[in-house]
């Protein structure tokens, strides 16, 4: 048994049987007008974090995403705060969360008073919720078999496909072999690789899901005239989306792809999964699929990822709420320049200092440490960026049933 398969740490057991690596109270606002109060409630409170939806008009995709985050394994309790005019209903969010066995509360600011009185009320609620989940949540042993890892690229350069993503891919293989799950969501960064992706399908069903998802993504990018490649990628040596795609896809490792899940859907059985974050056909167009890195990270967390790996060549200073973000770079210059934000320097592989497998082993140990409670650098710096956007996806078949990994 290798090091990855053997590591165990203490986790929090949720009523659905999933295990969390953090025990958080999540404050969720239901319109931009409530954002200030939500952040004021969480300010200075340990283990209290904020997400929110800016729109006044509700959106089924956004509600599904918010609820997936609210019932995430790292979340123990929820307070939902609205202004009072908006379509999205804080009480309905609290009700859905309570059904999952988590304590939850909600209020409208207009019913309570103004900024200060709502903030005071909210602080009293989150402190009480935090006290309760600290006292009541069972602690259990957790290992890689209980883990779902997400991986997202941002600011890729010429090193990302050579080492940054391949190191994560090897770690993904080890997690999958240990009985855990791994998710990649950037189908728009698989453009140009159709045959290569389909060759990874676990079976005919998975192949059909991947083919439909790939075709939709390629069509969508063509229609909106935007591919997932940016000026920073070009400056870092990547010339085309096809080149970037090959590098990005390396983070999926080499194990069979079990199929495609949608945003808000967790892998129905363990293994390597692709998440589809591209809009489905709808009478309204919702713009670009993943307008920024944070949007993709939120999608991965909505799939139940307890930890997300973020691979960057150019460098990045974002983090995430709900699930810790671990930053990996394949560019040692970037690591040296941005060491306060970068967790892991995979560029040492390019310098010949260690092998890809050794780097994946070191990264696995870092993942286990973060799962055991060590703060990643973005976490320690206080980064909690979130992004919930209007989008349309057909409602996923949330109950596909279970299948053994075999």
């Amino acid at each position: 048994m290798n090091e990855v398969a053997a590591r165990q740490w203490q986790a929090w057991l949720r009523p659905d049987g999933r295990k969390g690596v953090r025990n958080l109270v999540l404050v969720i606002y239901t319109v931009q007008c409530a954002a200030h109060v939500a952040h004021a409630i969480a300010a200075g409170e340990e283990d209290v974090q904020v997400i929110g939806f800016p729109g006044c008009y509700d959106n089924q995709y956004a509600i599904r995403l918010v609820l997936a985050l609210a019932r995430h394994p790292n979340v123990g309790a929820v307070l939902s705060v609205g202004l009072g005019c908006e379509y999205t209903q804080p009480a309905r969010i609290a009700e859905a969360v309570a059904k999952s066995g988590r304590p939850a509360d909600a209020f409208f600011i207009q019913d309570v008073g103004g900024t200060r009185s709502s903030t005071e009320k909210g602080k009293a609620i989150v402190r009480s919720l935090r006290e309760r989940i600290r006292r009541e949540t069972p602690r259990v042993a957790m290992g890689f078999a209980d883990l779902t890892l997400g991986a997202e690229c941002g600011g890729s350069d010429g090193t990302s496909g050579l080492v940054g993503n391949p190191v994560v891919g090897r770690l993904f293989d080890q997690v999958v072999d240990a009985g855990g799950s791994a998710i990649c969501e950037e189908i728009v960064e698989m453009i140009g690789l159709k045959d290569i992706i389909l060759a990874r399908a676990a079976d005919e069903r998975a192949r059909a899901e991947l083919e439909a998802t790939y075709d939709k993504a390629e069509r969508y990018c063509r229609e909106v005239r935007q591919y997932s490649v940016s000026p920073g990628n070009f400056a870092g040596g990547l010339t085309t989306i096809e080149e970037k795609s090959m590098g990005a896809f390396a983070k999926s490792g080499s194990r069979p792809i079990q199929g495609v899940i949608k945003v808000g859907e967790s892998p129905p059985w363990p293994g390597m999964w692709v998440m589809d974050s591209v809009p489905d056909p709808h009478f309204m167009q919702f713009g670009y699929t993943n307008p920024n890195d944070t949007e993709g990270i939120m999608d991965l967390i909505s799939g139940g990822s307890q930890i997300v790996l973020f691979i960057t060549g150019r460098g990045s200073v974002i983090g995430s709420p709900v699930a810790p973000l671990i930053k990996v770079t394949g560019n040692s210059r970037t690591y040296a320049r941005m060491q306060e934000d970068m967790d892991f320097d995979a560029g040492r592989v390019l310098a010949g200092e260690l092998s890809l497998d050794e780097a994946a082993g070191e990264l696995a140990a870092m993942v286990a440490d973060v799962a055991a409670g060590t703060q990643s650098k973005p976490e320690a710096l206080g980064h909690r960026e979130y992004f919930v956007m209007y989008k349309h996806q057909d409602t996923p078949e949330l109950d596909r049933g279970c299948r053994s990994a075999a």
């Binding site: 990018c221 591919y227 490649v229 040596g237 085309t240 989306i241 096809e242 080149e243 390019l350």
Partner: protein, 104 residues
């Protein structure tokens, strides 16, 4: 000497593992003389590539040569275009910034 990595045996470009001015050594053996300085993470042509021919990396076509490319040339936005992205070619070769958007 700076090294460059040819990912797949069929590739006609290699990726530089550090900045180089005149020459790079390939990880698999051999050297290539550079026609111009090339930066870390960027690509050098390992052979002449005719306009319209595929530029290959990772064993797949990552684009098409938009002009004739000579062995030792820097292969990037000025001479290689995506087969998918129609904005490809509308970017500054060094900074990568888009040139097709109006700021007036």
């Amino acid at each position: 000497m700076t090294t460059a990595f040819q990912v797949h045996a069929d590739d006609n470009v290699a990726t530089l593992l550090a900045d180089a001015e005149r020459e790079v050594r390939l990880v698999g053996g051999g050297t290539v003389a550079l026609n111009e300085p090339i930066a870390l993470g960027h690509k050098v042509a390992l052979s002449d590539i005719a306009a319209g021919a595929a530029v290959g990396k990772y064993g797949i076509p990552i684009g098409t040569a938009s002009v004739g490319i000579r062995m030792g040339d820097w292969v990037h936005l000025h001479n290689c275009a995506s087969r998918f992205d129609e904005r490809s070619g509308g970017f500054d070769g060094v900074t990568g910034a888009s040139k097709d958007m109006v700021y007036e």
